[in-house]
Amino acid sequence: MMRSAAPANVRVVTLKINGQAIGAREDETILQVAREHKIRIPSLCYLEGLSVWGACRLCVVEVTGSPRLLSACSTRVAEGMEVQTDTPRLQRYRRMIVELLFAERNHVCAICVSNGHCELQDLAQQCGVDHVRMPYRNSIYQLDSSHDLFRLDHNRCVLCTRCVRVCDEIEGAHTWDVMGRGIQCQVITDLNRPWGESRTCTECGKCVQVCPTGALVKQGTSVGEMHKNRQFLPYLSRMRQAL
């Protein structure tokens, strides 16, 4: 896991995750600690190296003493904390959240460029989603193919905002943003101009590499051909810290 330049006086706390006693640094989140100890918590919007967004709600966990469920990506560990990450109730909630994501836009794996290399597909398998109980919304979304190198397909976007954050925080261009609210939300380039006409885009392709689905892909890819490098961002942030 990525470690920020550690101040010398960080305390170590002990907590229990699924009954397993674990020692962790005070400035780490539940999700980071769980992953260091090979405890799987599903997540979508969280990406190592980017700021915490806490919006996909897939990483919710039960913490003894807290009346509400807490998202593991945005909750720091504390002394004596008791965390449950995989109760039947949480499994049921996660399953439904993945179903909601599928029903929101037109996710059809069989014709998707990312088929077989998609984080949403992996999540569905991990959470045991074999069918979607609610009707698909079947709204028609646009496809922006105006850029020479990359393509944006709103039909496959899950609004995780990884592209928005990587463009702002790592590349420093802030080409991406979110427009509208509620179910009408969409990611946009510049002030909703076609991507190809964007003046701020540096064509670095970081957004394409971090996109979990087939919403942002390279031009010229066909069904199942879009492989993304999942180690791209952790590698980049590690290299930058080493400097």
Partner: protein
């Protein structure tokens, strides 16, 4: 009462900011289900799905809007459940599992 719940859900759905998934998509789906039930097109399965959605949206939403959005549905269901049930489509016998002689003998 179904229409009252539908009205409040329409409000919550249009007020959702769209950041977290359960509120953004969940309120929209609940509004669709309530419309179906109100128009007498819903089934018992729709009502069961609506109740499960209520729980998920209430428990997992990021902020107070999503956490309280299912409340009108939950209270109308608690006190006026019959109004929902009498609007449901009758069960279609053709799609019910057939009771065989062996199953009859077991039960």
């Amino acid at each position: 009462m179904v229409d009252v719940a539908r009205y409040f859900m329409e409000f919550c759905s249009s007020e959702s900011c769209g950041k977290c998934v359960p509120c953004r998509v969940g309120t929209h789906q609940m509004h669709e289900l309530l419309k179906r039930i109100h128009q007498r097109r819903g089934t018992a399965a729709d009502l069961a799905l609506l109740e499960e959605l209520c729980e998920v949206v209430q428990m997992t939403s990021l902020c107070g809007l999503g956490q309280t959005a299912p409340n009108p549905v939950l209270s109308t269901l608690r006190y006026f459940r019959h109004e929902y049930e009498e609007r449901l489509q009758p069960r279609d016998e053709a799609f019910e599992p057939r009771r065989t002689a062996a199953a009859e003998a077991k039960s």
